[in-house]
Symmetry: C2
Subunit: 309 residues, 2 copies
């Protein structure tokens, strides 16, 4: 990382109780809770593919690039700790902003979320090149005494739950969402969760992944899906139905959970999350993903999400 | 990460004793030794800046991208454990090779080094775009009971040592080097080290960084610098002197260490490293970096390395 940028960064970043050595040495040193493992995930986002720098403030882009990574830690019910940020910065700048200021604005956009979720920026790398803006974040968290939440633990009879509401993320949520880290930790702390993941490519594409990992099928009740206002707004614009958007739109970044039916009833009664929690269906032994209409008729759910590549 | 690539990866990667959950879930889970911290570093390399994909096999590029990261763990005397690999892949391929095969060849190039240093590939991300090949690696290691090796512990009177030999890396070593992870662990295990770093931008640029972090100066004895055969070869081609190349060329990826003088003598007598270990000078209280000639005359050492940006 360029020296002057490291100097700015070390001044700008607040101290963090787990970060023993931060940016400036050859590597960072992070302390874990006794007996816990490191949970690590990476997402690389590119101008023109995952965001449009010409239309979006760099702070919002920075926020998104961090948030999508922390969402993967939420999906594991891991406690987020740190992010490492590597940048390929366009030599000629982004929207008239030079490389170093581009890097600074991206980092500035990450800091409010860092503060909210007690995450530090432990290090990274900056490079200037002739190509587009590339933001590669690696997020590090730690497991908790409850273990991590995997995709492969769903059992027939489990209830399927989602946090928040789905659809229409492109109207703004895909940039400004808060990853469900606090929610995942609260649920893991109070309930037994069988399986979970975050919805990044749309329910109709992500649910089959959870089902496949667990070796099960699933039935989703169409009427139960919590549709966001943006799903309705998107439908009004696209001419498709709100449920099409709720099932098919990517980047909801909500949690999808499989929970023993009794436990799910208790969760729904106790309503522990401000963002809401909805039972959308159940896990079944028979392979395949089905959508159940009001009359009880089941039709195969077509995968219609957006697959990130 | 694209599903088919994850499938290939999970089949291709050998098991690793510390990797509890590998590629395929939302994040990976890595176990640390009891009581140790995570050491984390990232380097992002770009076609046209850090390597030339048109002239270099993708396996060699993959090796380099992993090796530069592991060299930073060596610089901290940390035990390497895992790498996370995020790729921006040119849509039209690299030298006639499509995106997925490009990713596979990069990973293949990393595996021999992974095996040698017992490092796993814990996860990552693949994306296709219109820009150049970008390889963003984050390396994770763990501290050892000896603690980590920082840049800021050098004391006046310490001997300055380097592993291996310096200069002319561009003739090939910059692609094919083995990071000094085993060497750093062996030295930390047997000797008390005050400070250390890896030489990535050239001794004349990196030594001032170690000195500045430690609040000291340094004197380098020109005649003591271990010059590589490639430093001589590079000098024959460039018309500059071999010592210019040994001082100024980047990407040596050797270790620079500051060690109490007595301890350094013991190290040199015991010669614990196959790659060699050379005393090149000493740490002094007076700020500034000096080159001492055969007659004992000291001249300020000009920073002539290549600063990675």
């Amino acid at each position: 990382m360029e020296l002057e940028f490291v100097r700015w960064l070390t001044k700008r970043l607040p101290p963090h109780p787990r970060l023993r050595i931060g940016p400036g040495d050859d590597a960072a040193l992070l302390e874990l809770a006794a007996g816990e493992g490191v949970v690590v995930t990476a997402d690389l986002l590119i101008d023109g593919v995952h965001f449009l720098a010409s239309e979006t403030a760099l702070e919002r882009i920075g926020h998104k690039c961090l948030a999508v990574n922390l969402s993967d830690l939420a999906a594991m019910a891991a406690r987020p700790l740190a992010a490492v940020v590597s940048l390929a910065l366009p030599r000629d700048g982004v929207s008239g902003i030079g490389p170093r200021e581009t890097a600074a604005q991206l980092i500035e956009g990450m800091l409010p979320l860092c503060e909210r979720l007690e995450v530090c920026i432990a290090g990274g790398d900056t490079n200037v090149h002739a190509g587009p803006l590339v933001v590669a974040v690696t997020a590090l968290g730690e497991s908790t005494p409850h273990g991590v939440l995997r995709r492969d633990g769903a059992k027939p009879g489990d209830a399927l739950l989602v946090t928040g509401s789905l659809g229409g993320s492109l109207l703004g949520k895909h940039l400004d969402f808060t990853p469900r880290c606090e929610e995942a930790l609260r649920l893991a702390d109070s309930y037994t969760l069988h399986a979970g993941m975050d919805l990044s490519d749309g329910l109709s594409m992500d649910l089959p992944r959870l089902a496949a990992a667990s070796g099960v099928g699933a039935v989703v009740e169409a009427a139960a899906i919590p549709m966001s206002d943006d799903a309705h707004e998107a439908a009004a614009r696209s001419g498709r139905t709100p449920i099409d958007h709720a099932l098919g739109d990517g980047e909801d970044f909500e949690l999808l959970l499989a929970v023993v039916a009794d436990e799910a009833e208790r969760m729904l009664a106790e309503a522990p999350l401000a963002c809401g929690l909805t039972r959308i269906g159940e896990v079944v032994a028979e392979r395949g993903i089905f959508l159940q209409g009001a009359e009880g008729k089941r039709t195969p759910l077509e995968a219609a999400g957006y697959e990130h590549r």
